[in-house]
């Protein structure tokens, strides 16, 4: 009998050991009347923003207090963890940041994100709607954008002055090439750097011309004529010395920041959200950089909306209504959109704040850049910010653009642009 009791105790404690560890973690009740709202992101700057907005929410909503618990995870880990917990039906946070290249994965099957139409509708016309569309499927909006991601070009005025180039006179890509040659001759420095392991040097240029990786229905059009010509143009830029391959392969590499910080190249085209990379990682360029609209092709526009992060509410949210309302307050309210500019340096997705006096007040970005009125420039190109098609095949296509197309056509040059694009497109179809 004693033995049986002993065995039972042993068994119970074993089971307790296995399952108890998990239980202890979640047993942290919120204070009475305060609801927990959990949040995952891959970017600590985003978390700081939401925390500020949660504080503001609690001040303005005394009867609907929240206890905002945010967590920053590495980019890949966070998306993997989210995918698995949505598939498993348990373990996902209430609110989550999903990066645009990953977003289509979450629009497959029975979508496990909550439609936000009811909270967006009242202010829908204040948004740059193409940015709402990228996180949507079948007329339902699942994510709120952080920014417009307008493509711009960053000029290093110190180098341009030394070469005698006036960036305001660069209107078309042809002008840009001429200026590039002049910079190369006079200063020995390249006009720009091209990403050979990412898509940001290529995608915006085809988007400017109304082309894309996928068409509106999600079919692969990676190898169309416009794309081939554009990639050929990049290749010519490299071969003529106007451009060099970005050190480290892409514009977010550690060695790239070092290279640019030493005034390595005269210009760089990236979206507006790249502004804080200069302020945070290339401090020596302070007072040297000027932001201007992109040069144009003979047909097309001066910008395109690129990149982004959609914030969504998962269907596993403890209080769906509260999570949606808070998210809309954070990213969709005027206060939130102003904070998106002052704290994050992003071009806020609600255009009705672009001419708000706050946007012209000095902050670390206005201090850093030579522009007198960054948003004046943005308002000027507001109607030229073309969107891109974010459909199911996008993650696979982007993966191939990164891993083969750019490397083969630009870095190793063992395929012509047409061959590289066709091979990747055929694989993705």
């Amino acid at each position: 009998m004693k033995r049986i009791i002993l065995v039972t105790i042993l068994l119970v404690s074993l089971v307790g050991l296995v399952f108890g560890a998990g239980a202890a973690e979640s047993a942290k009740p919120a204070a009475a009347g305060v609801s927990d709202v959990s949040f995952w992101t891959f970017q600590d700057l985003h978390l700081a923003f939401y925390e500020k907005m949660a504080k503001l929410w609690n001040e303005q909503n005394p009867d609907r207090q929240i206890n905002f618990v945010g967590e920053v995870l590495p980019y890949e880990d966070m998306h993997t963890k989210l995918l698995v917990s949505l598939q498993a039906g348990t373990g996902a946070p209430d609110i989550v940041d999903i990066e645009i290249a990953k977003y289509p994965n979450f629009l497959k099957g029975n979508i496990q994100l909550a439609p936000l139409n009811d909270v967006i509708d009242p202010v829908r016309e204040k948004f740059v709607t193409s940015r709402l569309d990228i996180y949507s499927k079948d007329g339902k909006n699942y994510g709120l954008p952080f920014h417009v991601g307008a493509m711009v070009i960053y000029y290093n005025m110190e180098i341009l002055k030394a070469a005698g180039v006036d960036p305001y006179k660069i209107k078309t890509w042809d002008d840009y090439m001429v200026a590039g040659k002049q910079v190369k001759e006079k200063t020995g420095k390249p006009m720009t750097t091209l990403e050979v392991t990412e898509q940001w040097s290529f995608w915006p240029l085809i988007a400017q011309q109304g082309s894309d990786f996928l068409d509106k229905d999600g079919n692969v059009i990676l190898d169309n004529d416009t794309n081939v010509k554009t990639l050929q143009m990049l290749k010519d830029m490299l071969n003529s010395g106007i451009a060099i391959a970005a050190p480290g392969g892409f514009h977010h590499a550690e060695e790239y920041y070092g290279f640019m910080n030493d005034s390595g190249a005269a210009s760089l085209w990236m979206p507006m959200w790249y502004m804080n990379r200069f302020t945070d990682y290339m401090p020596d360029l302070k007072g040297k950089m000027l932001i201007l609209p992109m040069p144009k092709f003979s047909t097309g526009t001066r910008s395109a909306g690129m990149g982004g992060t959609g914030t969504s509410v998962t269907l596993q949210a403890r209080d769906l209504k509260l999570a949606k309302d808070f998210l809309m307050f954070a990213k969709g309210s005027k206060e939130g959109n102003l904070l998106i500019w002052t704290d994050l340096g992003f071009d806020p997705p609600r255009w009705d704040v672009w001419d708000d006096p706050t946007m012209n007040q000095p902050n670390k970005f206005t201090d850093f850049y030579l522009n007198e009125d960054i948003f004046g420039m943005l308002l000027e190109i507001k109607d030229e910010i073309l969107g891109v098609n974010i459909k199911e095949k996008l993650p696979a296509v982007i993966d191939r653009v990164k891993s083969s197309v750019m490397i083969q056509a630009l870095q190793q040059q063992n395929r012509t642009p047409a061959q590289a694009l066709k091979e990747a497109a055929d694989l993705s179809r």
Partner: protein, 290 residues
């Protein structure tokens, strides 16, 4: 009275059932499904049919080459080092042993990150600085072709695993009876003859074991290449392995069913290779004789 033994093995049985058997079975089922969040559908052999694509072939080739090369390097080198460590000065040997073993204690993430920074493409990175001393131009080491990429992966594997295999071989060496060497000495055998005629044949079981785990390790390699290229796809897929392809399909593209099919194929490859290896070296027969 008879309950106790079962209780003691219960933790193992439970963890085996929950964490090994169940996932394997469910992977097998999932390989015939299209698995999307909240929606699961049986689609027959479609996932296996989709494996006939160039990326899977590249992954398979890379993994196979990596496995063959690691076996070719990680058997003879540790074996020779183990033999040397077994004969020299005892005090110094334990020092060398620790030095060689330490790398395997370093997390692959740390090792990979350090290696990535050493090989950074800027002219100020350590490897490029050293290269500059010899008059070489700075290179984009990680953006090179397949041979260079494989070389980097092998260097990382060698640095990390030599110590572990030395330990296996050392323990094997200690099981060889001294008398055999003494008898060989009396017969006038040279050192090389002793190595060739006594040490290597009697280390057969250890060698088979090390080869088998090297096959597992080689085909399961993922972290090294994932970290070396900072989680991004490697240029021209030079670092794409089967597990990397599985990861891409499952987590980058959200095709869990397809990823499961890749996993099952990997399981079959590794299983077939290991069993054939053991058959070739008549491992089972020996086992039966005992």
């Amino acid at each position: 009275m008879r309950v106790a033994p079962y209780v003691f093995i219960l933790p193992f049985i439970l963890s085996f059932l929950i964490f090994y058997l169940y996932p394997i079975l469910s992977t097998f089922v999932m390989s015939f499904q299209q698995v999307y969040p909240g929606q699961v559908e049986f689609i027959g052999w479609t996932n296996y049919g989709k494996l006939n694509n160039p990326e899977f072939k590249v992954a398979l080739q890379n993994s196979a080459r990596y496995t063959v090369y690691t076996i070719a390097l990680l058997i003879p080198i540790p074996l020779l080092l183990a033999v040397l460590l077994n004969i020299g000065n005892r005090k110094l040997n334990s020092l060398y042993r620790s030095i060689l073993y330490v790398p395997s204690l370093v997390s692959i993430v740390v090792a990979g990150t350090i290696m990535r920074l050493l090989l950074a493409s800027s002219s100020k990175s350590i490897v490029n600085t050293i290269a500059a001393v010899f008059g070489a131009e700075p290179r984009q080491w990680l953006l090179g072709g397949p041979t260079q990429a494989m070389l980097l992966l092998l260097i990382l594997a060698l640095w990390r695993w030599v110590g572990v295999n030395i330990i296996y071989f050392l323990s094997g060496l200690q099981n060889i009876p001294e008398e055999l060497y003494e008898a060989a000495d009396i017969d006038g055998a040279s050192g090389l003859q002793k190595l060739w005629r006594i040490t290597i044949p009697l280390l057969k079981r250890t060698t088979i074991f090390v080869t088998t785990i090297s096959i597992f390790g080689g085909f399961a390699m993922f972290e090294e290449s994932f970290i070396l290229w900072a989680g991004k796809p490697s240029p021209n897929n030079v670092g794409l392995t089967i597990v990397g392809h599985l990861y891409n399909k499952g987590f980058q593209e959200g095709e869990m069913g397809m990823a499961s099919a890749i996993g099952i194929v990997l399981l079959i490859i590794v299983f077939t290779l290991s069993v054939s290896l053991l058959k070739i070296f008549s491992f089972f027969a020996e086992e039966g004789k005992r």
